[in-house]
Symmetry: C2
Subunit: 249 residues, 2 copies
């Protein structure tokens, strides 16, 4: 029995609403009443105190106390004792480097996959929950020891997925072109493009798309496929090779 | 006497025109009539044959023969014998990894800085000419051994620099926010945001902004500054520390 329990959010703030407002009902359903305290990881932003304050205030309104890992004397012990984990967004490279610097990557993986500690991620916190950060949108402002991430699911996510604007005169690559470049490389996993407003609920071997926007799945050497909110996309957990012909049933 | 001679282009194709059309007069002035053959580096794109064909056809119309390094039996020898070098755009991570994999980073640096071989870069080829690829816009589709790059100039560039669109409802970071995140890290160099349509001519210790769009200079802990096309921005070569108080004279 796989104990994995994940809530992977594309973005922490939706245009026109406050921090985590758009997914707060999902957060409360996810953490349930058994959870009293959530361990927050603010490493993706520079000002950790301010970030923890914002997150703490929001979680209090939802009925949860929040401990920030940057205030713990020993981060590994904090993860070992956590009832629940929330990794916030910001810069994915900074976040992953800091997770490695504090020896947290394998410890978080163990706690979530073996002990069933619920894991919520937002944006960069969603990226690091997947196989690797190869499909982040962020600027590589620091050099992490690896792009391999916590690996709670056997696919990659592109948060803040953005459709091409046909009226744009900008000649930089579209998001679709960037993900296609990733899939030009050998043995690359599937990439789920999570538009702002969408989130993923993973419970054991079940994956459901929640929220208000569709998600787009990119598979190496295959056409991309759109999924509506409410879709069961559990098959994403069963085939790790992106170019399997059995992936889109 | 510094022999450095660089033409660093923000983008290879400007909206509404063909490949390298917008900077072709600058290319001809830059390589002069002494150069007969240009060594092209197509590593940033997956289909090197097609990329070399596109570049070769364009350079022929300008009066230059083009040899693609991916067709050479020994890439290091090809660099050692090159009259001129042009590194094209695409994915910056793929490009830099391939430069390292082929032991070309120090060899190109030596040829340009010591032997005065003219170097032209476009987009990703401009990124790798600077201190590091920490300020690329590209997706990190492969893991290079380092983000340190060829280091032909003591600052960083952000090609395809994009101003914030105030009408956008997308909540991902703006380009300015991303560069600001870079400057939250210690000892980070200045970043020149090169908008599409602009390019940089470096001759010895002189730097001139060419093209049709302004460039925006980001310095750690200081307000950003705009420079008009035609500006002499040679001071960028003289101070490597971004938070020096002497950088914006």
């Amino acid at each position: 029995m796989n104990k994995r329990k994940l809530l992977l959010v594309s973005n922490s703030t939706l245009h026109g609403s406050g921090y985590l407002d758009h997914c707060q009902n999902h957060i409360c359903s996810f953490f349930t009443r058994d959870v009293k305290r959530v361990l927050f990881v603010p490493y993706a932003l520079h000002d950790r105190d301010a970030y923890a304050k914002t997150a703490r205030e929001k979680f209090r309104t939802l009925g949860y106390e929040l401990d920030s890992i940057h205030e713990a004397s020993d981060p590994v012990t904090a993860v070992r004792n956590a009832e629940a984990i929330f990794i916030g967004g910001g810069n994915t490279f900074r976040l992953l480097k800091c997770l490695y610097d504090n020896d947290l990557v394998t410890e978080i993986r163990r706690r979530v996959l073996e002990d069933g500690v619920p894991y919520m991620g937002s944006s960069a916190g969603t990226n690091v929950a997947t196989i690797s950060i190869n499909t982040t949108n962020d600027m590589p402002i620091v050099f992490p020891p690896s792009f391999s991430a916590i690996g709670l699911v056997p696919f990659n996510i592109n948060p803040h997925y953005l459709d091409h604007d046909p009226s744009s005169r900008h000649m930089g690559e579209t998001r679709e072109q960037r993900i296609t470049q990733f899939h030009e490389e050998a043995e690359t996993p599937r990439v789920l493009g999570l538009r702002e407003g969408s989130l993923l609920l993973v419970e054991g071997n079940n994956v459901k798309l929640l929220g208000t926007t569709k998600a787009r799945l990119f598979t190496r050497n295959q056409p991309s496929v759109e999924y509506e909110p409410g879709s069961d996309i559990s098959f994403l957990l069963t085939h790790t090779h992106s170019d399997s012909s059995l992936t889109q049933q």
